[in-house]
């Protein structure tokens, strides 16, 4: 059982505020991912939770207890570092058992706990090795094992997969998700990789410039980004943005004029704007469809074929649009194509970057990740 609460957390580094008042609530057993571009403060925030970085102001509460002045080891947390930070002069077993050795746990009990963690992570055969005799993925597992052995109330991960190659990263991602099910622990995970965030998180915290841009489930962030930054940050390739002029704005929809003359009515709450305003229209590449009767047209400049899907870069009215289409499309560079989108898929952002609220919530937004993986949980029990 562990919950975490951050109340108006601020971090000053020599007069520069790097964390500018973060509020957050992490529920028991939740998998929370901090995501954001480099320098957004996500690692600093994690290190403050860990106790490796002091808090300039605000409160950190773990299970309702204020932890600001409590030392890192006494907070009941474990951290997995980006560099793994294994002790190079110790064997895998000693690495994993170091915390227990410091806590003066008897040798037999120590060994038992290390073996248990090694079993979970399939490290039994490597216990006598030194870290330099391990592969990257194995080192990663030892680092996780070291965290497990302490039986922490909350696991902290600081970009743990970024030093692994792509294939291994995917595999470790799945292992981590499995581990979360098995250990049933609260986990906080920092990454700049939005795919990791989307696939693993119950809740994503998008950070930029030391402030929280949005907190929500992966599907909420994807379908209902709170502002233009989140919309652009989540999803790959990036969302297309173009400026559009408002023709008519009402509570039950906003009518906008697309470049090239087409008119679209987007089902968002338009009570805050009026005809003549300029809004930013955002539409994800995967929501644009090739359509001979579509309102937009342009020439293909680049084609990226990934096999299953193909990305088309289309020059349309001075803007470059990205479309993600079927892998089977036979278009070539310089072909002229027409395309369009379903109005409900479009997003409108006001001048301050805030999104106009969609009238209907996407049905997947409130499906919890656990329900997606109900079968896994059933298998385990």
């Amino acid at each position: 059982m562990a919950t975490l609460e951050l109340n108006n957390i601020v971090k000053d580094f020599a007069g520069t505020q790097v964390i500018k008042g973060v509020d957050l609530e992490v529920k028991d057993r939740e998998f929370v991912v901090f995501v954001g571009p480099s320098g957004c403060g996500k690692s600093t925030l994690l290190r403050m939770i860990a106790g490796l970085e002091s808090v300039s102001s605000g409160d950190i509460l773990i299970d309702g207890q204020r932890m600001n002045e409590v030392g890192p080891a006494e907070r009941g947390l474990s951290m997995v570092f980006q560099s793994y930070a294994l002790y190079p002069h110790m064997t895998v077993e000693d690495n994993m058992g170091f915390s227990l050795r410091l806590a003066k746990v008897p040798k037999a009990e120590r060994r038992e706990k290390v073996l248990e963690a090694a079993r979970i992570l399939q490290l039994e055969n490597l216990l006598e090795r030194k870290p330099k005799a391990l592969s990257g993925g194995q080192r990663q597992r030892v680092a996780i094992g070291r965290a497990i052995v302490r039986n922490p109330s909350i696991f902290l991960f600081d970009e743990p997969l970024s030093n692994l190659d792509a294939a291994l990263r995917v595999q470790m991602r799945i292992e981590l998700a499995r581990l979360h099910e098995e250990l049933d622990a609260t986990m906080i995970y920092v990454t700049h990789d939005q795919i990791e965030a989307m696939t693993m998180a119950d809740k994503i915290v998008v950070l930029q410039g030391g402030i929280v841009e949005q907190v929500g489930s992966p599907m909420e962030l994807y379908h209902h980004p709170r502002n233009r930054f989140v919309a652009g940050f989540i999803g790959s390739p990036k969302m297309n943005f173009i400026d559009v002029e408002v023709r008519e704005a009402r509570g039950e929809g906003v009518s906008v004029r697309l470049p090239g003359g087409g008119e679209y009515s987007v089902p968002v709450d338009g009570s805050g704007c009026q005809a003549g305003d300029t809004l930013s229209l955002g539409i994800r590449p995967e929501h644009l469809t090739l359509d001979d009767n579509g309102p937009l047209e342009g020439d293909i400049t680049v084609i990226e074929r990934l096999g299953g899907v193909t990305s088309l870069y289309v020059q349309c009215h001075g803007e470059e649009w990205i479309l993600v289409t079927d892998g089977e499309v036979s278009h070539r560079v310089r072909d002229n194509v027409r395309f369009g989108f379903a109005p409900a898929r479009a997003h409108l952002f006001a001048e301050d970057g805030l999104a106009l609220t969609h009238l209907e919530r996407h049905p997947l937004v409130d499906v919890e990740r656990r329900q997606n993986r109900a079968s896994t949980a059933a298998d385990a029990s």
Binding site: L52, P72, A85, L86, F98, S99, A103
Partner: protein, 273 residues
């Protein structure tokens, strides 16, 4: 192909030439130690002669070599251990908890090495006299420790800086206090560096002559004073002086030769990485 062999040959010859020039005085000294006083001053010097141990016998008869040697060992090891004991925490805080003044402090420490020791002889002598440290092993240990401390701190600092901060932080997450961090993680990780630093400190202490000559007379005098005692005002006795010198430098030379791999690795640790 041909020119590269010529070049290699030239470089090899040059290296040997330089090495021989550098080694010659030591070679001459060792040789002279086995001559009689007459042969020692003969011109031209004889390269082929009947070696004799008479110089060594006389040196041993005139002074208690073992006592001087023990003093050297005690002072070198004592000052080195003391220096490490002080320098490890100092270098730890400079490497891992730097402040804006850390760099300046390091430079200031080094700058004390630029001062000629004779410049502070008077105050040090008076301090030692008043504190009763003249001609005492503890006094010599303290002054050698102070003499080597800047270099020891600097070297440890560079070794410590190469230790990823993450590893110590992982230790802290695992429940290690500062002392445990240093003892269980930092020291084992930098042991090669600490060893070569210690070796250098031992060698520097062993070879130090200025302070030992000025601050000791008999009971705490190390081997450097032992050598000096054979250059008497009544005239130099080359053979005896050489024998004494050979005996004084032999232990440290052997130590240095045995540990040269360690030393080179330690001294170039930060530089070539």
């Amino acid at each position: 192909m041909h020119s590269s062999i010529t070049k290699k040959l030239a470089i090899t010859l040059l290296a040997w030439a330089i090495a021989l020039v550098v080694f010659f005085p030591i070679f001459w000294m060792i040789l002279t130690g086995f001559k009689t006083e007459g042969e020692a001053v003969a011109t031209p010097p004889s390269l082929f002669f009947e070696p004799t141990l008479s110089g060594y016998h006389e040196v041993m008869a005139r002074a208690d070599y073992v006592k001087f040697a023990i003093n050297s060992v005690v002072v070198s090891l004592g000052s080195t251990l003391l220096a490490l004991l002080i320098a490890v925490p100092a270098a730890y805080s400079m490497a891992f908890l730097p402040t804006p003044r850390t760099r300046g402090t390091l430079l200031w420490m080094l700058s004390t090495k630029m001062l000629p020791p004779v410049g502070v002889l008077m105050p040090v002598y008076l301090l030692f006299r008043d504190m009763g440290l003249l001609d005492s092993l503890s006094g010599l240990i303290v002054i050698y420790m102070l003499m080597n401390l800047p270099i020891v701190v600097w070297m440890l600092y560079t070794f410590f800086k190469d230790v990823p901060k993450d590893i110590l932080e992982a230790g802290r997450m695992d429940g290690a206090g500062t002392l445990q961090e240093v003892l269980y993680l930092l020291v084992p990780l930098t042991l090669p560096g600490i060893a070569s630093t210690g070796l250098l400190s031992v060698i520097l202490s062993w070879n130090e002559a200025f302070w030992s000559l000025n601050l000791t007379t008999s009971s705490a005098a190390p081997l450097t004073a032992f050598i000096a005692s054979f250059s008497s005002p009544e005239g130099l006795f080359w053979a005896k002086l050489s024998a004494a010198s050979t005996m004084a430098i032999a232990p440290i030379l052997i130590l240095g030769w045995m540990t040269q791999k360690q030393m080179v690795r330690g001294l170039t640790f930060g530089a070539v990485k």
